[in-house]
């Protein structure tokens, strides 16, 4: 072994003194063998520790995907089943401007009451026509005039007329 090493060292040109070689050997040689009992003890402790952690990991492994799946199912339910209803409610709320002088009747949306200028129970083009005529006559600017500010901008003008007209031709308002 020592001969082989010397041979290799000489070939590669790494010749070192025997003393240095001996010192290195002493430095990296274990002081003594680890007793088998200690080896087993360390392994047993490691196993106990790992075994104790496994149930926690298993719980987490199932809980995270289950929670994710539940979130997806709830999200899908909200999106596909109740989403349409929410949209419709939002659309209707465009005209949800309360009129304190003419509170809505039970079962009649506030939007309908607001745009129903002639108070005949339905919103049609005649409501827009009458509002336009009121504006042209100057009556709409009268402080005593009913609340015809349909879009809530503080003014009663052509934009309110358009709003009533568009409410009249909306497809989702049902049969006139």
């Amino acid at each position: 072994m020592a001969d082989e090493k010397r041979h290799v060292d000489e070939e590669l040109g790494f010749a070192v003194s025997p003393r240095f070689s001996q010192d290195l050997g002493e430095l990296f040689t274990p002081a003594r063998d680890v007793p088998t009992d200690i080896d087993r003890g360390v392994l047993a402790a490691a196993r106990r520790r790992l075994v104790r952690r496994q149930p926690r990991l298993r719980w987490l492994r199932w809980a995270v995907p289950t929670a994710a799946a539940a979130a997806v199912i709830v999200g899908a339910y909200v999106l596909f089943v109740t989403g349409g209803t929410a949209d419709r409610q939002c659309q209707n709320s465009k005209f949800e401007i309360r009129n304190s002088k003419f509170p809505p009747k039970a079962g009649v949306p506030a939007s309908t009451v607001q745009a129903d200028i002639d108070r005949n129970g339905r919103v049609d083009i005649l409501d827009a026509f009458k509002l336009a005529r009121h504006i042209e006559s100057g009556y709409a600017a009268d402080p005593g005039a009913p609340g015809w500010d349909i879009n809530g901008d503080g003014l009663v003008n052509r934009e309110d007329v358009d709003k009533v007209a568009f409410a009249a031709v909306r497809l989702d308002k049902g049969i006139l």
Binding site: A69, V72, A76, A168, L176
Partner: protein
Amino acid sequence: MMKRYMVLSLVIACLILPLLSTGRLTADPQVGRAVRPLEQKVRFAPLHIYLDSGTKPLAAYQFELKSASGQIKIVGVEGGQHPAFKEAPYYDPAALANDRIIIAAFNTGSDLPKGRTRIATIHLQIIGDIEPEYEFELSVAADADGHEIPAEISFEKGEQK
């Protein structure tokens, strides 16, 4: 470990996909029933709408059009012949690409049409060979004072393209 996650993910995906498709069907059956479109003949045709208010001046009107048979899509709306109704009438933009529309217009001026006048033209896309039939419902026609007047609605088919 990775195998378990993959199997678990597949199981979850298998559970969720049917639920999603069921929810979609419940919310909007038309989407669920989508079928592969067949090669169908498509043509375009205008529909001229006339209103006869007799001797009374026409200041406002509102009517509803829907297809009774055949497959149509409304692709555009334009105003009428008389200057009082020359501008495009009011309609719900959601009616475009639909087979039902509510159209309305008014004019507060003094130059109003009497008798039979073209009040609007509706441009249609007709799908298939079946000649569509239309249903009209005149909701209201009014004179310059906003009083309802009797009127008769009719239509003429324009040149198909």
